[in-house]
């Protein structure tokens, strides 16, 4: 922490030698704590707890933003992600997208101000949601290297803007250190974010490599060019589908999903004049009749002024909402990945032999619509694949080998299955054990689907289980957005989806075993039948041709008798 601005000068004042302080003395130490100072102390909450994670979080925030922006603008994302090693533990990171770009005035706020974003207040499914992401990355970089971030952004109509930004972390305000309009840029529209930070680059689980690969799985419509410090050439994750997912509709909050504090804020900030109007305007699924029902139950007047509703009245209103029967929120606001795309994403990035997917119908937890999707990629232990041809003969086919960097996703047959967790298409890499998805997987009985499973643990197998939750509001257990809170409704839906996909897997494994079994039997026959021929030839002294003919006829008779 070499940067001046994070020192809290007020706190370091020498305190009077007396043991006890007067209120006046204490007042000298009481001052506003800026958000950025808060961050400096609590950076682990935001995913910057160590150097390796800092690199991942920085890239993750930028990539999430790029994908969000592209999708909102209906553009098929083309992303460039580069990691350059500058010093032993210092890296320069570049994330460039072909998104809509950012208008010049907003650039400094987006990147140089914490808690500034467009997604926090919207009830629409998106990757970012706290508005804390990208500026936290800048702040971390600045704290560890003293350097700010360089942003180039161009909108279709505007000129390419280049800004170098720092953050005044005491005031939570951006400071532009360099500013220029570029004569030309290689993209018609898009944004490039470049930053230097203290970090460590590692491969393996929970690495940037892992994140990029999983992102390619959950975003088969995106092309990613990823350059690691170890490689000369970028790895390319080519898109498997061209169509960009529809922009999810925005919805108003559902009354069940609003907590008391939020309700009070909404009452204070509304433009509606009357309570009955407020309820209809600010919430979904509330018409005039429902609004009156709620108000009556709360013992309030329909024409009360929302802005003047006192604490106790808000409490009554809140309780009345919980008691009233209100229909579930619309689910048009959800954008699931889709069964076909999940399969394509998995096929693209895993070298498996079988894929099963399951999508649950949308559901609701605490007033928030959500939808669960599950995908399973399963590789046959041993590797060889058996195929039954039209004539019923079984052939061994060589295993496909190929796509870049496949080794990470599928483990060995005796290892726990890899669980890929996604929230709004964002891979969740850490805190697997504390995640609701994990709980749902371990609580599912995989034995009946053909996988081994130690009691209360992940199933074993060379397989990947993908769980995706699409929601307007994903209930993370912390700000670092790494684990899903285990709400009963969510657990139930995940389990059902796992069961749906699991049944398909089970059927396949059973069939696979049957075929393998049959193959084994047939090879067994092929091995010993010639000896029946030899025995006959020796005893009866028949010719080689006669012997071969007998063996062949017997082979045919046996196959017909068995027929698969």
């Amino acid at each position: 922490m070499r940067v001046e601005s994070i020192h809290r000068k007020g706190q370091n004042h020498p305190v009077a030698a007396t043991k006890h302080l007067t209120a006046e003395q204490m007042a000298k130490n009481q001052k506003e704590i800026s958000v950025s100072e808060f961050f400096a102390k609590n950076r682990h909450l935001l995913g910057f707890d160590n150097k390796q994670k800092a690199l991942l979080t920085t890239i993750k925030e930028a990539v999430d933003n790029s994908l969000d922006a592209c999708e909102e603008a209906g553009i098929a994302p083309d992303l460039l992600i580069e990691i350059h090693q500058v010093e032993e533990d210092r890296f320069r990171v570049v994330i460039e997208d072909n998104g809509p770009g950012i208008v010049k005035e907003q650039i400094q706020n987006i990147f140089g101000k914490l808690l500034y974003g467009s997604k926090f207040h919207s009830r629409r499914q998106s990757r970012g949601q706290q508005g804390i992401g990208i500026s936290a990355a800048l702040l971390y970089a600045q704290m560890t290297t003293g350097k700010g971030a360089k942003i180039i952004s161009k909108t279709t109509r505007g000129k390419p803007q280049s800004l170098t930004l720092q953050m005044d972390s005491a005031k939570n305000k951006p400071m532009i250190t360099k500013e220029a309009v570029l004569k030309e840029w290689h993209l018609k529209h898009g944004t490039r974010f470049e930053v230097e930070l203290e970090a460590t680059y590692k491969r393996g689980l929970r690495s940037v490599d892992d994140y990029i690969k999983q992102t390619a799985v959950s975003n088969p419509h995106a092309t990613l060019h990823y350059l690691t410090p170890d490689d000369e050439e970028p790895r390319i994750y080519e898109r498997a589908v061209k169509v960009v997912p529809d922009r999810p509709a925005e919805i108003k909050p559902h009354p069940y999903g609003v907590e008391l504090g939020e309700l009070i804020r909404m009452l204070r900030e509304t433009n509606s004049r009357w309570l009955v109007g407020f309820l209809q305007e600010e919430f979904c699924r509330v018409g005039r009749k429902k609004a009156l029902e709620i108000i009556k139950e709360a013992g309030l007047g329909e024409k009360s002024y929302p802005t003047r509703i006192a604490r106790e009245e808000a409490d009554a209103l809140y309780r009345s909402i919980q008691k009233t029967k209100i229909s579930a929120p619309p689910t048009t606001c959800l954008s699931p990945i889709g069964e076909k795309r999940i399969t394509e994403g998995l096929m693209k990035e895993t070298d498996a032999d079988f894929y099963a997917v399951a999508t649950r119908p949308p559901s609701v937890y605490r007033g928030n619509p959500f939808q669960i999707e599950v995908g399973i990629a399963w590789a046959k232990p041993g590797g060889d694949q058996l195929e039954v041809d039209k004539r019923g003969r079984i052939k061994k086919t060589k295993k496909r080998r190929g796509t870049v960097d496949t080794e990470n996703l599928l483990g060995n047959a005796d290892e726990p299955v890899r669980l890929l967790r996604f929230a709004n298409r964002v891979p969740l890499l850490s805190q697997q054990s504390g995640c609701g998805f994990t709980k749902a997987v371990t609580q599912t009985s995989w034995k009946s689907y053909g996988l081994q499973q130690p009691k209360g643990s992940m199933p074993l197998g060379s397989a990947v289980i993908l769980v995706h939750m699409a929601s307007v509001w994903v209930p993370f257990t912390s700000e670092a957005k790494e684990a899903i809170a285990p709400y009963d409704e969510i657990l139930k839906e995940v389990k059902r989806a796992l069961q749906d996909a699991g049944r398909k897997l089970g059927a396949h494994i059973r069939k696979d075993k049957r075929v393998a079994n049959e193959f084994e039997k047939r090879s067994y026959i092929e091995k010993y039948l010639p000896h029946v021929g030899i025995g006959l030839q020796e005893i009866l002294g028949i010719t080689d041709e006669a012997r071969e003919e007998i063996v062949e006829t017997l082979g045919d008779s046996l196959e017909t008798a068995r027929n698969i």
Binding site: K521, Y524, I525, K527, Y528, L529, H531, V532, I534, G535, L536, E538, I539, L540, I542, E549, I550, T553, L554, D556, S557, L558, A561, R562
Partner: protein, 402 residues
């Protein structure tokens, strides 16, 4: 019998060299002569192969039928005198599970065909090693080849063909023999007769070879004692009991081998000699050793006709002997396996079920709850068995258990 005994006594009293006991003779077994059984064996092998060939060419799946070999598939009739094979058969149809054994069966038949033709033989172990040259079809353990040999023998048993006819011989040699018996064997190279005098074996004994149908015999003996243990056999041989009693002693060494059974059978049948079994007084001695000697076993039901001694009788030791000869304090309590064996015999063994005397004996043993070994007589002095027990018992040979 009485007449013979008189002669013996006279001879013993007068010690006259001129009065020789009557000599009886028997030659090579009929079945072993000429081409008869060999040809049947060769024909049977070809017949099986032809059947397989015909079924296969006709687009069918061939099957081999063989009798089931266990105690539940035998019947016992006192008149026939041995366990007879019942009507249960197992069918080995060519399929995935049987293809290996099927191939191995044919290949072992082919080996038998060669051996019968060339008058060579293979021990069961050698047959197992021959298969090592068959590549994939080789046997992994001798247990497997033994079992296939038994199957082949089972298939052919209805025609009287045995494993020995097919020229497969067991490793283990037969029991030991001493006494007033001359065995006439043949030199395998020259065909010349070779005479072995079982009274001229010194402290050793004549050993029963693995196949015995080609042997001829000459004897002056009056009966045969088949003895369970080597220890008792040695004692009786050492004191030349066979000379005193004018008999033949055969050591079985536990359950008698096929060759020993066939040997005793040929002696008893060809020379018309009674056979007295002398074994431990325990369920194993009665239900396994004696029963197998007399009527054969369930597992070898297909060959019992030749490989047992229907006119054997049980001399002892009986539970009643324990009481009559004061052996009570020289006994051991029956073990749970003993009790189970005796109860199984009462419940499932057609032989014991056929004789009330045997049922009574087994029940008596169970009630007494004890067993006694042959050697227990040593309690009364080492040669009590020679001086007291055997003479007393043999005097009442008609009362022996059937």
């Amino acid at each position: 019998m009485a007449a013979k005994k008189k002669i013996t006594k006279k001879t013993a009293k007068k010690k006259s060299a001129s009065k020789k006991p009557r000599t009886r003779k028997v030659g090579e077994d009929e079945s072993n002569k000429g081409k008869g059984l060999k040809q049947v064996a060769l024909d049977s092998i070809v017949a099986v192969a032809k059947m397989v060939q015909k079924t296969a060419t006709g687009g069918g799946l061939p099957e081999m039928v063989m009798p089931q070999r266990n105690l539940s598939n035998v019947t016992y009739d006192k008149k026939t005198g041995y366990f007879e094979l019942g009507d249960n058969y197992k069918t080995r149809k060519l399929d995935v599970n049987s293809v290996k054994t099927f191939a191995q069966t044919l290949r072992l038949m082919s080996l038998a065909q060669d051996m019968v033709g060339d008058a060579d033989f293979a021990t069961k172990r050698e047959a197992y090693y021959v298969s090592k040259n068959w590549g994939e079809a080789k046997f992994n353990e001798q247990r497997e080849s033994d079992s296939v040999l038994d199957d082949i023998e089972g298939m052919f048993s209805l025609k009287g063909v045995t494993r020995e006819t097919l020229r497969f011989v067991p490793e283990e040699h037969g029991g030991s023999v001493v006494g007033a018996l001359t065995v006439i064997d043949k030199d395998p190279e020259t065909g010349d007769p070779i005479r072995s005098d079982c009274a001229a074996m010194g402290s050793g004994a004549y050993t029963v070879p693995s196949s015995v149908d080609h042997l001829g015999f000459e004897t002056t003996a009056e009966f045969i004692i088949a003895i369970e243990t080597g220890g008792m056999f040695q004692r009786l041989n050492h004191h030349r009991y066979w000379r005193t009693a004018n008999c033949i002693l055969v050591e079985m060494g536990g359950v008698p081998t096929r060759a020993t059974r066939r040997f005793v059978r040929r002696l008893s049948e060809g020379l018309k000699l009674p056979v007295y079994a002398f074994v431990d007084c325990d369920p194993y001695g009665m239900c396994n050793i004696y029963r197998t000697l007399k009527v054969g076993s369930g597992a070898s039901a297909h060959i019992n006709a030749k490989f047992c001694v229907p006119n054997a009788s049980y001399m002892g030791v009986t539970p009643q002997d324990i009481l009559d000869f004061g052996l009570e304090d020289a006994t051991h309590p029956l073990l749970p396996v003993d009790i189970k064996r005796a109860k199984d015999a009462l419940k499932n063994d057609p032989f014991f079920q056929a004789y009330p005397a045997w049922k009574k004996t087994l029940k008596q043993m169970l009630t007494m709850g004890v067993r006694a070994e042959q050697q227990a007589f040593a309690k009364w002095g080492l040669n009590f068995v020679i001086e007291e027990y055997l003479p007393v018992k043999i005097k009442n040979a008609k009362k022996f258990l059937p």
